[in-house]
């Protein structure tokens, strides 16, 4: 792209300086953009690791007693995982189903475009609104009790569905039309084409998008505050109150006691580690499938 300068008149000094300064400014902005990440990771490691190494951090539940041993975060980790698994069981099939409708049936019809638009709008709805929605529809109506864990899962799934739909649609559109046509020409009915050709071809991409949605759901606090609230003890019963990592951190931040704040840092490090792990796995699958 560069042209030998010998045959051309020199670029004026002012323009060269301008170029240098602006390039420097752009580089500086990029560095500035990276600083928050570095700082957050640094403080999470610095304060979180000391919590990790305290005895029983991963093997005991929060005690709830203010003066004694504050306890660990076992119930928070398991509660979060449990609720997110249920949310994923709802959101991933629904999300991929809607995406299949958009790519295989609806395509460019007005209804498909309307759905696409609403899904886009859903991605922009603040997460707290999904919490409020479930609160109005399920908690105040006392559907199977007041605050329960499965309602938190439903709220999380509402938040995850648009993410799954958007990413799945992109991946499904990448499946070559010729593959579909070949299967149809061989006499396969449409639903067999979907299950035998489209979904297997798009599988890695679908997994990637779903994992990113799971990672997003994992870190959300607001929807859980309005639907599950909080519990200290460990339970596997989705019909009761349940602890979760984000809500545990949220409560611990507001404690005046330093041992509990330290637990918040440890829980924060745990949460970020889980979310990052999901992201890394998602990207790994995406990059492997691209190479293949």
């Amino acid at each position: 792209m560069s042209i030998s300068a010998t045959s051309l008149p020199q670029v004026s000094a002012r323009r060269r300086w301008n170029d240098k300064i602006m390039r420097g400014a752009l580089l500086a902005a990029t560095v500035v953009a990276l600083i928050p990440l570095i700082l957050i990771v640094y403080f999470l490691l610095k304060r979180g690791l000391s919590a990790w190494t305290s005895s029983g951090f991963f093997t005991t539940d929060p005690t709830g007693s203010f003066f004694g041993n504050p306890g660990g975060i076992r119930s928070a980790i398991l509660g979060s995982l449990l609720m997110v698994v249920l949310a994923s069981v709802i959101a991933i099939p629904v999300g991929i189903g809607v995406a299949l409708y958009l790519t295989e049936y609806g395509r460019d019809s007005w209804f498909a475009n309307l759905v696409r638009y609403f899904v886009d709008v859903m991605t922009g709805v603040p997460s707290i609104m999904f919490g409020l929605f479930i609160y109005i529809v399920l908690v105040t109506a006392h559907v199977g009790g007041g605050f329960t864990a499965w309602k938190g899962s439903v709220a999380l799934s509402l938040l995850m569905i648009p993410i799954v739909v958007r990413s799945a649609e992109v991946v499904l559109l990448l499946v070559p039309g010729s593959l579909r046509e070949a299967a149809l020409a061989l006499g396969a009915p449409r639903w067999r084409v979907i299950t035998k050709v489209v979904l297997p071809t798009a599988a890695p991409g679908l997994v990637t998008g779903s994992l990113l949605a799971v990672a997003r759901g994992m870190g959300e606090t607001a929807p859980l505050l309005f639907t599950v609230t909080f519990a200290f003890g460990l339970t596997y019963n989705l019909g009761t109150l349940m602890n979760s990592l984000p809500v545990e951190i949220f409560n611990d931040i507001q404690s005046p006691r330093s041992a509990i704040v330290t637990r918040a840092w440890g829980a924060g490090l745990t949460l970020v580690a889980i979310v990052l792990l999901l992201n890394v796995i998602a990207r790994f699958i995406a990059s492997r499938s691209r190479r293949a």
Partner: protein, 335 residues
């Protein structure tokens, strides 16, 4: 013409599947359509329920719910101007700080940085989106807030001649702190969309600019930025939508003031934060007021998102945007 039609019909009926084996196809088709329709119905239903739940607040307070400046739970006064101003001010701060940095980083990654560094840099900036908002809150409360207080005090007293920005006494939690954290949170969203939009700038445009003797920066200013302006604006609007509705991190660092703050470094409140703060013990008209706050927030984010989609659609130059949700699948689009 007619003869050929008949032969085709005859030929098809010979190959046609029996009705029973066409059944699953119909079931899948209508099942998936129903699923898609359910999404629409769900959003509309939510909107109606929210209006219903907050109806008595609006009939009692009217527009003063939005524009009156006093939120007093003990006397059952719910005037949310403090939340409206807080929501808008913190989001504006976030845009002013976050968008230039995000766009500049996107330009650098796409146009200037060595090819080898492009993907790692993109991934690093994207990772900010993976940090949960409660962790931003944790960091804001225990690291950023105490460390910023000194500089904020210095700034407020040094620039005391600027109205609203200087002059006051900064509190630990304030508008600026909340805005700064929001800026960090919307950085990855705006940056990811900007990167995508900038990647669609045709190489011919850039090469033409360079061939005419433009420096790299002139090429960026004259060829890259004008072409991607609409898309970048859309990305910024999506970031704004995110900032307006951000709850947990803002709640932890805004200070929950019942009235409008006097200056940039004073405590405030936002719609999302007040819902999170007071939801637990709210009853009767109070809870309706919180739902009304939710309704205002919902409408606000809807408007911003609709405008954002319009810009993004206009800026994507005919190609359907892939990562307009801020959740890019591919780490980098290449060029």
């Amino acid at each position: 013409m007619e003869a050929s039609t008949t032969t085709v019909t005859v030929g098809r009926s010979g190959l046609e599947r029996p009705a029973a084996s066409r059944l699953p196809d119909q079931a899948v088709k209508w099942g998936l359509s129903g699923l898609a329709a359910a999404i629409l119905i769900l959003i509309v239903y939510f909107f109606i329920r929210l209006i219903g739940e907050s109806h008595n607040v609006f009939s009692q307070y009217g527009l003063s719910f939005i524009f009156g400046n006093d939120w007093d739970v003990n006397h059952n006064i719910y005037h949310g101007a403090a939340m409206l101003v807080g929501t808008l001010v913190t989001s504006a701060i976030a845009l002013v700080i976050g968008v230039p940095v995000a766009v500049a980083a996107a330009v650098y990654v796409n146009e200037l940085c060595p090819r080898r560094l492009r993907q790692p840099l993109s991934i690093l900036v994207d990772l900010l989106a993976a940090v949960p908002s409660v962790v931003y809150g944790l960091w804001g409360v225990f690291v950023l807030a105490p460390k910023l207080l000194g500089p904020e005090k210095w700034f407020a007293s040094t620039f005391s001649f600027i109205p609203w920005i200087g002059g006051g006494t900064p509190t630990l939690y304030n508008y600026f702190l909340a805005g700064l954290i929001l800026a960090i949170m919307l950085l990855p969203i705006v940056s990811a969309i900007s990167r995508e939009v900038i990647a669609t700038v045709p190489a011919e445009h850039k090469e033409a600019a360079l061939a005419l003797g433009a420096t790299r920066w002139e090429m960026i200013r004259m060829a890259v930025l004008p072409y991607s302006r609409a898309g970048i604006t859309g990305g910024a609007m999506l970031g704004l939508g995110r900032a307006l509705g951000e709850t947990i991190a803002v709640f932890l660092v805004i200070g929950a003031a019942p009235t409008i703050g006097a200056h940039l470094f004073s405590q405030g409140n936002t719609f999302a934060a007040v819902i999170a703060a007071e939801f637990g013990e709210a009853q009767g008209i109070h809870i309706s007021a919180l739902f009304a706050a939710g309704l205002v927030l919902f409408v606000l984010t809807l408007i911003v998102n609709v405008i954002a989609r319009w810009f993004v659609a206009r800026g994507s130059h005919g190609t359907r945007g892939t990562g307009a949700t801020g959740m890019t699948i591919a780490p980098s689009e290449g060029s």
